[in-house]
């Protein structure tokens, strides 16, 4: 059964498809920590012909706290990006480094979304703490669901997580 949060993210994504082109750029800083281990990821762009970089891998233990911090900052020089959707999720994946995005209809540990208008230098940030009780490989990904349609790409940052 589709959940309300997923539905909202999906509808927001479809809504921006009808928007006109805008000059929008973001930088993303993503950090995940568990115990003393930490991994970070920076902004990437997802375009059709672009091969994603290898993701850093964080190891964590079942039931132990994992903390994720992220910041999304507008680097646009002028104008405003209206109704940008900032979408974060942690989902089980089949293997580390998997290129295909897992579906978000099951085995999603954490998912969040927020909407905001971005003027130049505006930023939003978050810190989330959670645990995972099922061992396996997980994808942590933060993405902006706006620029995909405005310039043929979207911004994202991603890490892999191995829970043992």
């Amino acid at each position: 059964m589709i959940n309300r949060l997923y539905l909202w993210v999906l509808l927001s994504f479809l809504a921006v498809l009808s928007e006109t082109a805008r000059a929008d750029h973001f930088t993303i800083d993503l950090e995940a920590r568990s115990g003393t281990a930490a991994r970070t990821a920076k902004t990437e762009t997802a375009a059709l012909a672009e091969k994603p970089k290898t993701r850093a891998v964080l190891e964590a233990k079942v039931g132990k706290p994992i903390t994720v911090k992220w910041t999304v900052t507008s680097t646009a020089k002028d104008g405003m990006v209206k109704d940008a959707l900032i979408h974060f999720f942690v989902v089980k994946e089949e293997k580390i480094g998997q290129v295909a995005l897992p579906k978000l209809d099951k085995q999603v540990t954490v998912e969040s979304a927020l909407t905001m208008d971005f003027k130049p230098k505006d930023k939003t940030e978050a810190e989330l703490s959670f645990t995972i009780d099922t061992p396996g490989s997980y994808l942590l990904r933060l993405e902006t669901r706006d620029s995909a349609v405005t310039e043929g790409h979207e911004h994202y940052a991603a890490l892999d997580l191995v829970v043992k």
Partner: protein, 166 residues
């Protein structure tokens, strides 16, 4: 005539509370994840405000078993129509409390089961939502709460559910 005056005065006295309640809409829920049935909703709560500490509404109570897979979900909509609220925070957490219906907030620096804070420029009709899987391993009473912070107002909005773990 006296009755009419009483009604008018009562209406005027209620206005500030009605106006405050329109600044935010929150839909908070907790579900149990059943491998066969899928998600089974246990309780949901809507918006309240602080002060008074702990709000005005009685909190719903969700009864669960220790180590049971649970899912919390909320949607927080900003209905304040007049301006963008700079650097507002939306904060959710699950934390042990002493009793059901406890009005005071417990210490959030320890024993927090799961927690998240979002800082953003909250525009009119802006929205923050999250969905988090979690379990609670020890029996007891826990508070699930999502709240606004730093909104430059004389009150904050929240929604809360008590979780009784057996």
């Amino acid at each position: 005539m006296r009755i009419r005056i009483v009604f008018v005065l009562a209406g005027v006295l209620c206005l500030p509370f009605l106006a405050r309640a329109e600044h935010a809409r929150i839909d908070l829920q907790i579900s149990q994840f059943d491998p066969v049935k899928g998600e089974v909703k246990l309780a949901n709560a809507s918006v309240d405000q602080d002060p008074p500490a702990g709000g005005r509404q009685a909190r719903p109570v969700a009864k669960v078993k220790a180590k049971e897979p649970l899912v919390l979900q909320f949607m927080f909509d900003n209905l304040y129509p007049h301006k963008v609220i700079k650097d507002a925070r939306v904060h959710y957490f699950v934390v042990p409390v002493d009793k059901v219906g406890q009005k005071t907030l417990p210490d959030l620096t320890q024993n927090v089961m799961t927690e998240g804070k979002f800082t953003l420029n909250f525009k009119p009709n802006g929205r923050v939502g999250a969905r988090v899987s979690f379990t609670i391993s020890k029996p007891g009473i826990y508070l699930l709460r999502v709240q606004s912070e730093n909104t430059d107002s004389d009150h904050e909005h929240f929604s809360a559910i008590d979780v009784q773990v057996e």
